[in-house]
């Protein structure tokens, strides 16, 4: 008997062009031969024709045109997302760092690229490695938006699914590690890739050893501080793209944090990295309307505030605490501005930590006594009034769990439906709370702003019950509501107790830095540059403790604000520029 190869030619090494190997898949023909031998069974003529139609419909006509979009009629990506997907496919050949600023849709861009390769049959299996907290969100996005049948890795056999989303910390451990390193992935996607910046870590080595054809690294903070970190990230993707380590250092690094030959570097980065910025234009946002709501503390509340302030001053002077201790003390003052519940817990803890017989214990107890005298919360009452007045969905942010609980009780007592949201909740509970807020409750009281995946575009009002001192956290709060897809102007209310540190902070953030109305994303660069040596929070705490009275504090804060504003007008822009690809 002749083998198939005698007449049909061997596949091995067959060439159709000096560079191009030719392969055959004749499964359907071999089946025809078997059926001829056995005289059937034969398929239906219409199905035969439909099979051609199916192939005709899914045929990829051109090398370059984006195919995925016609498959996703209900999906409306933004122009910059489509543009990014195209560049990854054509210019970067499927290996790229997606470094858009937060909120511009890196996940969507990655999903689009993955979908496109799948539609073209170039990717059959893919591994998506993300922080554990984002696994389910990724699975959901890939399924819902892109119709990609991704599953979350929970059991060992899940690795066999073509598209798997897993936590990188799980994947890099045995027994998974060995299994994954034996495989070949058509595509590897790593979210929060800036965590891979250090090439000595297990995560880095693991990601580097995984075999992959296409690879996407997603990060919002590609150049946190250090050029060598950026270099490592690119090496993961395309070793040698920026030359050898010493070439890179010689060509591009002036100082660890200061690049030289910016244009050259920019050009080199542009070949592997895409960074869309909100300020690039073409991305339209609605307005932010900021209202500061000044409040006077009630005499009882004021007494507590003064008492705490006095305690903090004397304590710092007497004991000479270090910076972290100082931060903790200043926190007491901030908590008084939020609610008596918040400060109460901290005081009780402080009391427990203080040695028995220490005079401080008595002082603390006096403060607790002051708390007992407070019957009403001025801010909560004002908040209630605001909510009643706007008669619309609103999210109230606070820094403190105790305040959150208090507010939930307070609203419930006044017949207002409110749901909580906090970082400690598991994913399912978070989803449920969001759903309740969307459908049932008028108010959400949240302590967490940074959590990914809370998209609250249906809400247009934010009340900052108290303010974080870290401007990025405020930005994250606002970003939950004021983001792509928000169709209405967003109203932001800042509650501010007069005559307290809160007033100073709001003065700094609002009047000096004008952060509430800044072009979104601009802040990120400025703060990062500014915080190289010391965080803003630390600086503020130090000022408060060192200041000789209120006027001195005000002028110190003014100087700080000027420094940031300067940075924004000059330096900030420069650092922003060199990273922007051409």
């Amino acid at each position: 008997m002749r083998t198939l190869h005698e007449t049909l030619g061997t596949d091995a090494g067959r060439r159709i062009h000096p560079l191009v190997e030719l392969r055959y898949d004749r499964t359907a023909f071999e089946e025809l031969e078997r059926r001829l031998e056995r005289n059937g069974p034969w398929d239906n003529w219409t199905l035969y024709q439909l099979a051609w139609e199916a192939e005709e419909a899914t045929r990829i006509e051109h090398f370059h045109e984006l195919q995925a979009l016609r498959m996703l009629p209900r999906f409306e990506p933004l122009p910059h997302q489509v543009e990014t997907a195209k560049r990854v496919l054509h210019d970067m050949r499927g290996r790229a760092i997606l470094a858009d600023e937060v909120g511009l849709g890196k996940t969507i861009e990655a999903g689009l690229v993955l979908k496109e390769y799948m539609v073209r049959g170039l990717v059959r299996n893919a591994l998506v490695l993300v922080p554990a907290s984002l696994v389910l969100q990724w699975v959901r996005e890939l399924n819902d938006k892109f119709g990609i049948p991704a599953i979350a890795q929970k059991k060992e056999h899940h690795w066999d699914n073509p598209i798997v989303v897993a936590s990188i910390d799980t994947a890099k451990r045995e027994p998974h590690r060995t299994k994954l390193l034996e495989r070949e992935y058509d595509m590897l996607i790593i979210d929060e890739a800036h965590k891979l910046k250090n090439k000595r870590t297990g995560n880095y080595k693991f990601a580097s050893d995984l075999r992959k054809k296409y690879c996407l690294l997603l990060t919002a903070t590609p150049v946190q501080n250090d050029l060598s970190e950026l270099y490592n990230l690119i090496t993961l993707l395309k070793p040698g793209q920026l030359g050898g380590e010493s070439d890179f250092a010689a060509t591009f690094v002036a100082d660890r944090r200061v690049p030289k030959n910016r244009e050259l570097l920019q050009e080199a980065l542009g070949r592997v990295m895409i960074r869309n910025r909100r300020s690039d234009g073409g991305i339209r946002y609605t307005r932010r309307i900021v209202t500061n709501v000044p409040l006077r503390l009630s005499p009882e509340e004021q007494a507590l505030y003064d008492g705490v302030t006095e305690y903090v001053r004397t304590h710092v002077r007497s004991a000479g605490v270090d910076l972290s201790g100082a931060l903790a003390l200043v926190t007491l003052q901030r908590e008084v501005c939020s609610s008596r519940d918040a400060v109460f817990i901290t005081l009780v803890n402080l009391f427990k930590k203080t040695e028995e017989g220490s005079p401080l214990r008595d002082r603390i107890w006096e403060l607790v006594e002051l708390i007992r005298r407070i019957k009403a919360n001025t801010k909560a009452e004002k908040t209630m009034e605001l909510i009643r007045g706007m008669n619309d969905k609103v999210i109230v942010f606070t820094e403190y769990r105790a305040t959150q609980n208090y507010l939930l009780r307070f609203f419930a007592e006044h017949g207002l439906q409110a749901v909580p949201y906090r970082g400690g909740m598991n994913r399912g509970k978070k989803d449920w709370m969001m759903e309740l807020f969307r459908r049932r409750a008028q108010v959400m009281v949240a302590t967490e702003a940074g959590g990914e995946g809370i998209n609250l575009q249906f809400c247009h009002h934010i009340i900052n019950f108290d303010l974080p001192w870290n401007p990025m956290r405020i930005e994250q709060r606002i970003g939950r509501v004021h983001r792509l897809g928000q169709t209405e102007d967003v109203h932001i209310y800042n509650l501010c107790t007069l005559g307290t540190i809160e007033e100073h902070i709001l003065h700094l953030l609002h009047e000096k830095i004008n952060m509430f109305e800044m072009v979104i994303g601009e802040l990120e660069d400025i703060i990062r540059t500014f915080e190289r040596e010391e965080t803003l929070e630390q600086r503020l705490a130090r000022m408060i403790l060192e200041a000789e009275g209120d006027d001195d504090l005000r002028s110190r804060i003014d100087r700080l604000g000027d420094a940031i504003a300067d940075l924004r007008d000059s330096g900030g822009r420069k650092t922003a520029e060199w990273r922007r690809e051409g």
């Binding site: 560079l19 359907a28 025809l32 034969w42 035969y48």
Partner: protein, 340 residues
């Protein structure tokens, strides 16, 4: 595929698999699946193995498939974290209980009213809400079918698998045969090829060719010829099959050789470009690793770096190496009147 083409495709499928169409409009169809289609589409392996073992009467599923413009409801379609909103493959679920929002239960009379469970969220905006009241006990699953939807892809897979090989006869031409009582028929091997050009990108070409098993003549427009012909699975009366001189295998080899000659004349600049990208990448990798390997302090380190370099080289090869794959979509034997 546009909306009409999708609809035509789905209806042909339903007809060919013997499904029972309950209701039809220009934008939707309500259908009770045949057992065959149910097995292929509903993923109910346990149910079917139960039916097969017990011989019980199967209850197949009923679907309402909409071909209209999909709902662009910003909230639901964006997947704004409605848990399980995607449960009904592609339907934009939006009730308070998403899992059941797109299931209309005919068992409870309330749901048959206008604005019942159907309009709760699953029915697409701008499309007529089906007005029928399903028979008691039926569950009707509402889905959007569009190009790219999972359901349509399932149908694609089904026809690829079940429309593979045919053996057909053309109806004899009207009139009297010049050969008195019989018509001489020639057997043709018809093959639909898909040619994929791949490197780090890809494109496809389709060819529907045929070759006469009697003479070895190749017809590059064979698919068009098939479409114009009236074909039947049963051999018509008075047909005399001519003896084939070529085995299907030999004929296949001819077709492949013919196809290869054609492909060779094609444009290979894509491959040349891919190759230059490949070499470019390779050079970069070598340039990166060589000095590292030379400077390595221990043999162990050196070996580790070598392995890493090799892996990276293999990845580049995998990604860029230009290749062409010819696959047979489906093929069959077709008997046509005439001697050619």
């Amino acid at each position: 595929m546009n909306r009409k083409q999708v609809q035509r495709f789905v209806l042909s499928f339903l007809e060919q698999t013997g499904c029972h169409i309950i209701e039809k409009s220009p934008t939707h169809v309500v259908v009770k699946l045949s057992p065959e289609a149910d097995r292929a589409l509903t993923n109910r392996h346990f149910y079917w193995s139960f039916i097969d073992r017990t011989g019980a009467e199967p209850e197949t599923m009923t679907f309402a498939w909409h071909f209209g413009q999909p709902a662009k409801d910003g909230d639901a379609a964006r997947g704004d974290a409605v848990p399980g909103s995607a449960a009904g493959a592609g339907a934009a679920g939006g009730g308070t209980a998403p899992a059941s929002a797109n299931v209309a239960s005919g068992a409870s009379p309330g749901n048959a009213q206008p604005g019942g469970a159907f309009s709760a969220g699953a029915a697409p905006s701008g499309t007529a809400v089906p007005s029928f009241a399903p028979a008691p006990g039926y569950r009707v699953l509402t889905e959007q079918i569009h190009f790219g939807s999972a359901r349509l892809n399932q149908l694609f897979d089904y026809v690829r698998k079940n429309g593979r090989n045919v053996l057909l006869f053309a109806e004899p031409p009207r009139g009297v045969s010049p050969f008195r009582a019989t018509w001489p028929y020639t057997a043709w091997l018809g093959v639909n090829f898909k040619v994929s050009y791949e490197c780090d990108v890809k494109r496809d070409e389709l060819y529907g060719w045929g070759i006469s098993l009697a003479t070895g003549v190749i017809d590059e427009r064979f698919r068009e010829r098939l479409q114009a012909a009236r074909l039947t699975a049963r051999m018509p009366e008075g047909v005399q099959l001519l003896k084939s001189t070529l085995t299907p295998r030999k004929a296949m080899a001819h077709l492949e050789a013919h196809l290869e000659r054609k492909l060779k004349r094609g444009d290979f600049s894509w491959a040349v470009e891919a190759e230059s990208r490949r070499l470019d990448e390779l050079e970069r990798v070598i340039h990166y690793y060589r000095p590292l390997i030379e400077r390595a302090e221990t043999a162990e380190q050196r070996e580790a770096l070598r392995t890493r370099m090799k892996n990276r080289e293999a990845e580049i090869d995998w990604q860029y190496r230009p290749r062409v794959t010819v696959s047979v979509i489906n093929c069959g034997i077709f008997h046509f009147p005439g001697i050619d």
